[in-house]
């Protein structure tokens, strides 16, 4: 599956140094040094582990009592309140961008797809960890159904929540997009995803830190680069605070 995507992946890797160059102009040689170190970490991680190497999975009795709600804990709109009250029957997840066959899916549509359940650890950039069971379809199924075009290098996740008056969003490359543990979770520990954890849908990107795991998911977008998306750094925290785009460190 990922091997079909090899060319896409190589194109994505080629696009990253270009992003690093625009960073150099912004932040000078120190910023450039940081970006180089970050890309070395990513390269080393990818070289040491197989592309589809799995994050560890745990037994049910190893789960933590809860998963802390962090960042956005709700979406502060009347529309979201209404959706929450009626069980998200009107929620739509779009798959769009550089795809041959755009999709608009309901929660029921997602339930009808093959489901994957995994007990994994959630590591926050702040330092804490929680372990929980997450269920939902693999992102790769949606991408294959939508038929991602060759020129797409990244997958962007659009979200309903806002923080500091900005829309939350995140992005990953094709290696993580097609990783078998990358799922769109609609259940946490066997129950519908709670509000504080991103109801009704959130991403699981198991080999990266928590801020990549976009909550309150509304759209999945295939793009060539993120130059035109908000501040162009590929994510909410990346734009707001210069957080690392590769969050596997």
């Amino acid at each position: 599956m990922t091997d079909i995507k090899r060319r896409t992946l190589l194109a994505g890797m080629a696009a990253l140094p270009a992003a690093a160059c625009s960073e150099l102009a912004e932040t000078g040689p120190v910023g450039d040094l940081f970006d180089t170190a970050e890309s070395w970490h990513r390269t080393a991680h990818r070289a040491l582990a197989k592309r589809q190497a799995l994050a560890p999975e745990y037994r049910p009795d190893q789960r933590s009592p809860d998963v802390k709600g962090n960042g956005s804990q709700t979406v502060d709109t009347a529309e979201y309140r209404a959706q929450l009250a009626n069980g998200f029957t009107d929620w739509r997840l779009e798959v769009r961008g550089l795809v041959e066959n755009p999709l608009s899916l309901s929660i029921a549509d997602l339930h009808a797809l093959p489901q994957q359940t995994q007990i994994t650890r959630h590591d926050c950039v702040e330092g804490w960890s929680a372990i929980a069971e997450w269920s939902g379809p693999q992102l790769s199924i949606l991408l294959d159904t939508a038929r991602v075009r060759e020129e797409a290098n990244f997958i962007v996740f659009r979200c309903a929540d806002r923080l500091y008056n900005r829309d939350y969003y995140e992005s990953i490359d094709m290696v993580d997009a097609y990783h078998p543990q990358t799922i769109i979770a609609h259940e946490l520990n066997g129950a519908p995803l709670p509000e504080k954890n991103g109801a009704p849908l959130r991403m699981r990107i198991e080999r990266q830190l928590g801020y990549k795991h976009a909550k309150y998911l509304t759209a999945i977008e295939a793009v060539a680069n993120f130059d035109e998306i908000y501040d162009g750094k590929g994510g909410f925290w990346e734009d707001l605070g210069d957080y690392q785009w590769y969050a596997g460190i």
Binding site: P56, R121, G127, R207
Partner: protein
């Protein structure tokens, strides 16, 4: 051609010593900034509730952190950049010390080095007023201290640091298991960083206690060459 006798400190030792010193300072100070993001330490694989913490860490003031304000993203940039310098430097030092036999000659201890008598003798000779400094090799206390730092404290910083990275774990899940889980690895990272801080503090006091300028200049210029081959 006759090779000149070696200096007290080889070029590798001196270069690594100062690069490592800078890396440790940046890693320590940026690490204190990162610690401020979640000041609670846990054992095992998970931990997020302060009620489960085995330790609540103090909030480190801005003047002691890099950068000099709370900024988790920039602190992580400094930390993960200097981690490369630190880890590759340590690897180079280990390989170089094994090849040049510096490790076996100067750092590996003999059973007699661990006797109370030889330890007391080493401390006595280091006290202010003692004229001894030109030894080609390290005394038993130095061998033990440098051995623990090179063989345990510094490598454990690398191993525990790697174990905290979610991107490393798929490649080396055994590393996290060996350390007792991700939150245990994070706790050990903190503990060994303070163990190193303790070593550096004592190290600086010891240098200042006896011939500080001479010792520092030796670590820069290499110090005197061994006069004869007996110590080599």
């Amino acid at each position: 051609m006759i090779r000149k006798p070696p200096r007290r400190h080889s070029l590798l030792t001196r270069t690594w010593h100062w690069i490592n010193a800078i890396a440790l300072i940046v890693l320590f100070m940026s690490g204190l900034n990162i610690s401020n993001a979640h000041r609670f330490l846990y054992w095992g694989n998970y931990g997020y509730d302060p009620a489960d913490a085995w330790m609540t860490v103090m909030r480190f003031p801005a003047w002691i952190t890099i950068p000099q304000r709370y900024d988790l993203a920039e602190a992580r940039d400094w930390h993960s950049t200097f981690a490369w310098i630190f880890a590759l430097g340590l690897l180079t030092m280990w390989i170089g010390s094994l090849i040049s036999r510096h490790f076996w000659r100067d750092i590996a201890t003999k059973p007699s080095d661990w006797s109370l008598r030889s330890i007391l003798q080493a401390i006595k000779e280091h006290l202010p007023g003692s004229s001894r400094i030109e030894d080609r090799t390290y005394n038993p206390v130095q061998r033990i201290a440098y051995g623990i730092v090179l063989g345990m404290f510094l490598p454990m910083m690398v191993f525990t640091g790697l174990a905290i990275s979610p991107g490393i774990e798929p490649a080396a899940p055994w590393l996290v298991d060996w350390l007792g889980g991700r939150q245990s690895a994070r706790s050990l990272h903190f503990i060994f960083s303070w163990a190193l801080f303790g070593f550096v503090a004592v190290h600086i006091v010891m240098v200042l206690a006896s011939h500080p300028l001479k010792r520092i200049s030796h670590m820069i210029a290499g110090g005197p060459r061994a006069e004869d081959g007996t110590n080599d």
